[in-house]
Chain length 329, copies 2
Amino acid sequence: MSGIVVSSRVRLARNYQDLPFRNRMSPQQAEECVERTLAALRDLPEAYHFRTLRGLDDVERKALVEAHLISPDLLGHGDKGAALIRQDEKISIMMNEEDHLRIQGFAKGENLPDAMENALSIDDTLQRHLAFAFDHQLGYLTACPTNIGTGMRASIMLHLPMLTLLKQMGKVNQLAAKLGLTIRGIYGEGSEAQGNLYQLSNQVTLGRTEREITEAVTAVAKQMAEMEKVFREKTVAKDALAFEDQLYRSYGLLSHARRMSVKEFMVHWSNLRLGAAMEMLPISPDDCDRLLTNAQPGHVQKAAGRTLEPREIDEKRSEMIRSALNGGT
Amino acid sequence: MSGIVVSSRVRLARNYQDLPFRNRMSPQQAEECVERTLAALRDLPEAYHFRTLRGLDDVERKALVEAHLISPDLLGHGDKGAALIRQDEKISIMMNEEDHLRIQGFAKGENLPDAMENALSIDDTLQRHLAFAFDHQLGYLTACPTNIGTGMRASIMLHLPMLTLLKQMGKVNQLAAKLGLTIRGIYGEGSEAQGNLYQLSNQVTLGRTEREITEAVTAVAKQMAEMEKVFREKTVAKDALAFEDQLYRSYGLLSHARRMSVKEFMVHWSNLRLGAAMEMLPISPDDCDRLLTNAQPGHVQKAAGRTLEPREIDEKRSEMIRSALNGGT
């Protein structure tokens, strides 16, 4: 299952009791939101970086979105947005997004408990100093009613190339919907899931405990991963060399091309990740996951230290990939 | 020019004066043709291999055709066909093809004089012992009137990927036709020139001396190679990295794929040969040319020592290519 589940994430929506919701907030109140949050978190033991939207150029913003450390939505909610990010990138607290706070906890692989613990540790620290908008009937109050209750979204990212190839995702979507869960592509616009990466998460935040939510998401993720595993094994059993051929062709292209778009990269990355998970290619799943982030346009430009033309991005991306795979010539 | 001209070949058609042409020959006379040829060539200083069609299985026949050491036509002219092949494969004498004898001389690169000398050395040796059908007005008499006169076909094989890509081959064909020359694809059926390999040769054997023929073919080959060179340089000047990208993608696929058809191989081989000729890939043109022959179906099966299923051929071909490029993993 470790080869199929990429990562786990928990997000908590929180709003300060004594401040109006974001849409009715004054600039001063938005600044107050940031200040009190930083003050309350001043004594966290680990190293954190503080970033304001105003202090970030386009490339840096893009790179943070690509790493899931800030949401695309944060960019759309005015210039008061900010984020406090733990150095190891396991925790990120966004300020002045749709809610006053969006606390994110991350964990590698299938591990919602760790991701939740990361997020709750911040929630606990804040609640020792500050009061959140909370109703004893409804739970946490949020800007959008869909988040009321736990204010929690638990999500698991899965790599499902075989379920995609064999057109099983419609069936999987139905299964998830029945259980109040939803599946979306990541890094993709519209219905197309680039890299065959999917995010499974809870749709409902009300009427279930945090633990019920993480357990439901984990159970369905396990089921999806099991299906994917069976299809992988069946496909290999049918014609192992055809399978290996497909993986190595992508490996050969990634390790030799001189100019590659992100769209083409995602196609070959999916084969790379598949081969890594099945121990059929000379690369680890972790290295694949690092490559995935580093090959995104913001990261490529951040590594170059400047804004690049689209063609330059494709060239620098290829350079980076070749050096990561270092079998390239 | 060495990067564009692959090889040179001269073929002489000869018939014994006292034997009827092939189509009216008895089996005994066909055997006599072989015997007297072998007897006359018994004392050649170099090592030769003698092969009879009857003694060759399908795989061996295919491999000899692929190496141009025997013609596809030899296989179609009954089971009396035979060939005497110099060990270094610079000379091949076919017996009982369309004519009694088809003497072939080969040379690397643009070198019709050497190829001609190779062929003529055999012709001279034979004429010291035996008499060929010859008319003082017409020259050598041949089974098909198109070969009468010198009985010579001089051909130069060229690799013309850029002229092909930029749709210049129509123009080039017209130029050749005006000068009594013809251009054909090799290893290809119909009009498609697999690997962008073309053979330029004389159409007319009568009314020109051997030297005039080789000079005309050489002159036009030089002109074609010069055109190809200019287009290569222009394309690199326009976008060197796009060019390099194309070459390295083919290199990456060739050095990593696990199953490759001959048709797909020819596409990537052309890029490999182009990159080798321009010193942009870590392989020499000579190694490319060896790979071209070794990747053909007959050679792949010959190396395996048995007849293979089509899918096995594609697998063994890939193994062979990877080991030849040895950057493959």
